[in-house]
Symmetry: C2
Subunit: 301 residues, 2 copies
C-alpha cells in the first residue's frame, strides 16, 4: 500500500489535515484534495506540503484508493455521505472527533455505498513536529491504513478493537482535555463574577500551584478553536449518553465553547474578557439545556 | 473575643468540624457541642479534642456567643433555622459549602431571628495539620471571628467582600477540584465501557503523564465522601446558574457522586469497580436531568 502509485484523497487540508497530508506525502503517496469551496489558506497549505489539486470531490473520489476525512465533527457524516453518493469503492477512513455511535453510522453509510470503512481518531496538536500527534485506527481495515503513516510526523496506532474503538479513545481523551478546560474557564468566570478571583488565585497558589497557569491556558489556547469544539463536545455528550453516563459535563462544555466562538481565528482574549463573554451570552443564544433552575440570572453588563 | 470566657458553639464535630473545634480549643475558647442525635464517632472526636457536651441544641444556643455551623451543605439552612428558632442573638458563622445565594438566604434567616451573620467557607483537607485548611470569612462580622483561629491548625482568612464572597470562593475552588475529579472518574468509566482504557492510559502516559495517577486518586480519595458531595455539587450548579453560567458540569458531577454514594465511610473501590457503579445506576435512580437524548443505554451488567 505504500508504493508510489498509491493515491490518497484528503478531505480537507485544514490545520490538522495538513499535518496528516504532509505525513502521507512523506511516505510516498500522491495526495489529492478537493479545492472547490475551500479558502485561500487551505490552498496555500495544500501547495506548501505538495498536495495535488482536484477541483471537485468527484475528482478525488475517482482517482483515490483511500480517502481520509479530517473535518470538524459536525461535518463528518455529510462528507461521508457525499463520498458514498459519488460511488467510492475504496477504503474510507473517518479520522474525526465523533462518538463511537456516529462512527458506526458513518461506517454503515459508506459500506452501503460499496466502500470499506476504517474508524480513526487523531490525538495531539495540529503541528508537524514528529511524534506530536497520533492517528488511532480500529476496525478490519486498520492495518492497511497504518503503513501510509510510516514516515511521520503523524504516526498511526492500530487498536485491537472494532469500528468505534478509535472514536471512543478520542472521545475519552478530548472529553477530559477539552471538558476540563471548559470547566476551568467557567470557574474563573464565576470567581470574576463574584469578585473573588484574586482570592481564588491566592488559594490555588497555596494548594494547587499549577492551576492558575492552566486556567490562563484554558482560555488563551482554546478561544480561536472554540467554534470547532462545540460539535466535538456534543459528540462526547452523545458518547456519554450511549454508555449511560451523565451528559451534563459536555453539554456545558459545548455551551462554553459556543460563547467563545466569536474569537475564531483571532487574537485570543484575556481571562477577564473571556469571562465577560461566558457570563453574558448573546440574547440570540438558545436557552440552557440541562438547567434545573426555572430562572437564570440576567446577563451582566 | 479570644479571652478564656468566650464560649463557642460548634455544629457539628464531624471530620472537618473536629479540625475547627481543635483550633478553637487551642485558641482558648470553651467549645460546646450538641450531642443529641449524634453518633459514637462524633462523641469520640469531641472528647478527644476537649469539647464540652451540651445535650441539646438549646444548651448550645443559651451559652454560646458565637456559633459555627460545619455541616453537609444540604443541612446548612435547616441548622440555621433551628438555631434562630431558639432565639440565638450572638454571631452565627455558616462555614458550609453553599452558594452565595444560599449563604445570603441563611444570613437573612438568622438576622431576622436577632443574630448577626458571618459567611464562611473552608478550603483544605479535614486534617489537623497546621496550614492544611483555611476558613475564609466575609461580611461585616468577619474580623471578629478570625482571632478565634489564631492558634491553628485551621487558619482564618478575612476576605474584603460582602456576605456571599466566602461562599463564592468555596464554590469556585470545589467547583474545579471536585468537578474535575467527577469528570475524570467518568472519563475512565467511558474508556472502560468502550474497551479502550488501556489505550487511554498509554496515550496519557505519552501526552499527559500525571493524569493516570490523578484519575486513580479521583476515585480512591472521593468515594467514601461522595454522599456528602452530592449537595455540594448542587450548590455549585446553583452558583453557576446565578452567574449565568451553564449548570451541566456540576449537575453531572452530582450524579457521579450520587452513584458512588454506596461507598460511604467504607474501603474505597478500584477504578473498574467504581466504573461499574457509574455505568449501571440503580433502577431507583432518577432520570438524568439535562440530557438532550430521549433514550439512554441500558445499564451494563
Amino acid at each position: 500500500m505504500t508504493d508510489a502509485a498509491m493515491t490518497v484523497g484528503l478531505l480537507h487540508p485544514g490545520e490538522m489535515g495538513a499535518a496528516v497530508g504532509a505525513t502521507l506525502v512523506a511516505g510516498g503517496a500522491r495526495v489529492r484534495w478537493a479545492s472547490e469551496g475551500r479558502g485561500p489558506e487551505t490552498r496555500a497549505r495544500a501547495e506548501e506540503i505538495g498536495l495535488e489539486e482536484a477541483r471537485s470531490l468527484e475528482g478525488v473520489v475517482r482517482s483515490a484508493r483511500v480517502i481520509l476525512s479530517v473535518v470538524p465533527p459536525h461535518a463528518a457524516a455529510e462528507v461521508a455521505r457525499a463520498v458514498g453518493a459519488l460511488g467510492f469503492t475504496g477504503l474510507y477512513v473517518d479520522a474525526n472527533a465523533v462518538s463511537p455511535e456516529t462512527a458506526r453510522h458513518i461506517g454503515r453509510s459508506v459500506e452501503q455505498a460499496g466502500a470499506r470503512f476504517v474508524d480513526g481518531g487523531i490525538i495531539g496538536p495540529a503541528t508537524r513536529q514528529p511524534g506530536a500527534a497520533r492517528l488511532y485506527l480500529s476496525g478490519p481495515g486498520a492495518a492497511q491504513v497504518a503503513p501510509l503513516f510510516s514516515a511521520g510526523p503523524v504516526s498511526a496506532v492500530v487498536l485491537d478493537g472494532p469500528v468505534g474503538a478509535a472514536s471512543a479513545l478520542k472521545m475519552a481523551f478530548a472529553g477530559w482535555n477539552k471538558g476540563m478546560q471548559a470547566l476551568l474557564a467557567s470557574i474563573r468566570a464565576l470567581a470574576i463574577a463574584e469578585g473573588v478571583d484574586a482570592a481564588l488565585l491566592s488559594e490555588w497558589a497555596l494548594s494547587m500551584p499549577d492551576v492558575p497557569a492552566r486556567s490562563e491556558r484554558a482560555v488563551r489556547d482554546n478561544a480561536r478553536k472554540a467554534w470547532r469544539f462545540v460539535g466535538e463536545m456534543e459528540e462526547i455528550a452523545r458518547a456519554f449518553a450511549q454508555a449511560g453516563l451523565p451528559t451534563g459535563f459536555h453539554e456545558a462544555a459545548a455551551e462554553v465553547y459556543r460563547r467563545l466562538a466569536a474569537w475564531k481565528d483571532g487574537a485570543p482574549p484575556g481571562v477577564e474578557e473571556a469571562a465577560a463573554a461566558l457570563l453574558a451570552p448573546s440574547t440570540a443564544d438558545r436557552p440552557l439545556r440541562g438547567s434545573r433552575f426555572s430562572g437564570r440570572a440576567a446577563p451582566k453588563t
